[in-house]
Point group: C2
Chain length 253, copies 2
């Protein structure tokens, strides 16, 4: 699905931004870059600043295709999504990046191409260019400061599409443990082990006279909540019980 995403930059003024955009898209796994009439850039002789900004993505930068018009850039594309900085006079199907990514996935699954189109640094896309898109995408920026760098916009939209692709391939939640869970190094403790530790803790606290059994108040419920919430693994329970044993031994001396 990654090869069917095309990034299209229109009339970019600063070649450094083209380099940054190439880097941004490559970090998200996309390689198809098309430049519509760039102001001062030739992939055969890329400027120094563009290569510097691209860092390890110079292959994307130098492999970019240059065309004269948006129409040429998206000829073979099924769904054209235009990044729009503001609301236009005529409303258009307007999506935030996550909605757009969901839409893109339905097309990518069908092995058809999706283009993400980004306009000029200062003025964005023209109304005519926006009218050639099926979908307008707006990143919900701060209303008082919506000046998103073009490479940052490429980064955010590429990120959303990558997240949607990974999710559609069940590769997202499976690779992150969240609070704990998958890919944890040790098995989690079971409830017998946790209860054994809590009882051990309570005995020790009584022994060292931190806990008064005739007036226990909320001490043990609070400690139990803490350790339940942390969801300790088996090794951690062993370490904690080892500490309790040592506390007892010191106390008994």
């Amino acid at each position: 699905m990654f090869q069917d995403i095309r990034i299209v930059l229109i009339n970019t003024s600063h070649s450094g931004n083209i380099g940054s955009a190439a880097r941004a898209m490559k970090t998200m796994g996309f390689t198809d870059l098309v430049l519509v009439d760039p102001v001062d850039f030739d992939p055969k002789h890329p400027s120094e600043v563009s290569v510097a900004m691209a860092t390890g993505a110079a292959d994307i930068l130098c492999g970019a295709r240059v065309v004269a018009t948006l129409a040429e850039a998206v000829e073979d594309v099924a769904i054209v999504m235009g990044a729009s900085a503001r609301n236009r006079h005529i409303p258009w199907p307007l999506m935030h990046p996550r909605q757009a990514a969901g839409k893109a996935i339905t097309v990518l699954k069908n092995e058809q191409k999706v283009a993400l189109v980004f306009g000029r640094e200062r003025t964005g896309l023209t109304n005519e260019e926006l009218s050639m898109c099926q979908v307008h995408v707006h990143i919900p920026t701060n209303e008082e400061f919506s000046s998103l760098n073009v490479a940052s916009a490429v980064q955010v939209l590429s990120y959303e599409i990558r997240m949607a692709i990974l999710d559609s391939q069940d590769k997202l939640d499976a690779h992150y443990s969240g609070d704990w869970g998958v890919s944890w190094d040790n098995d989690l403790a079971n409830q017998k082990e946790i209860n054994g530790f809590i009882e051990h803790l309570e005995r020790t606290l009584v022994d060292i006279e931190f806990l008064d059994p005739t007036n226990p108040r909320q001490l043990m419920p609070r400690l139990r909540r803490l350790f339940q919430r942390a969801v300790p693994d088996k090794i951690e329970i062993n370490i904690l019980r080892g500490i309790l044993n040592m506390v007892k031994r010191n106390h008994d001396k």
Copy 2:
């Protein structure tokens, strides 16, 4: 909730990246920037390149607080989330940015602070710094090219937190039409209007002998599907019927 997010940059080498990060966070509505031991940056005398990269976010840049250690930077913070580029030897609660944003929201709702911590350009956060975080966040980059610019990482995490905040305030889907819907300029056509148009279209196609009523095949079902799918508004139906009237008038001449 926006004022309770802190962006912490550790040991950043290039002041241009600090400027870009300031811009990235401001576009997402965040203003609290803390720099831990920056290599070559003083907010009182910001470098030219840092101001250039910040564009309209020079206020954030010059308002940044500089401290010596991560511990100082997050003293008053409840949840510290460290951006981690790779898996560490000891697993840690590891979240992708969307999971982390969901976690952050639960704390922000309680009016407590959340810090997002970003490490050095080349080497990221040290193991000691990562051990001071409750959560590690990993942006699921391309495994063959995971070299995300630090300001791009700030952009992506800030974007996810902004999306989560807007969503929690019901400000997200309400402001995007999706395919059509909210904030559309005209009322959508109702089914009587759509059916009236489809019948009008069919009569016209018979009149101009494009449609043979004795052998209609799949023409009308296909046209109906197209116009149903587009969910036309009332004005669009009027325009389409105006065209049909004109076709008929031309035909009758």
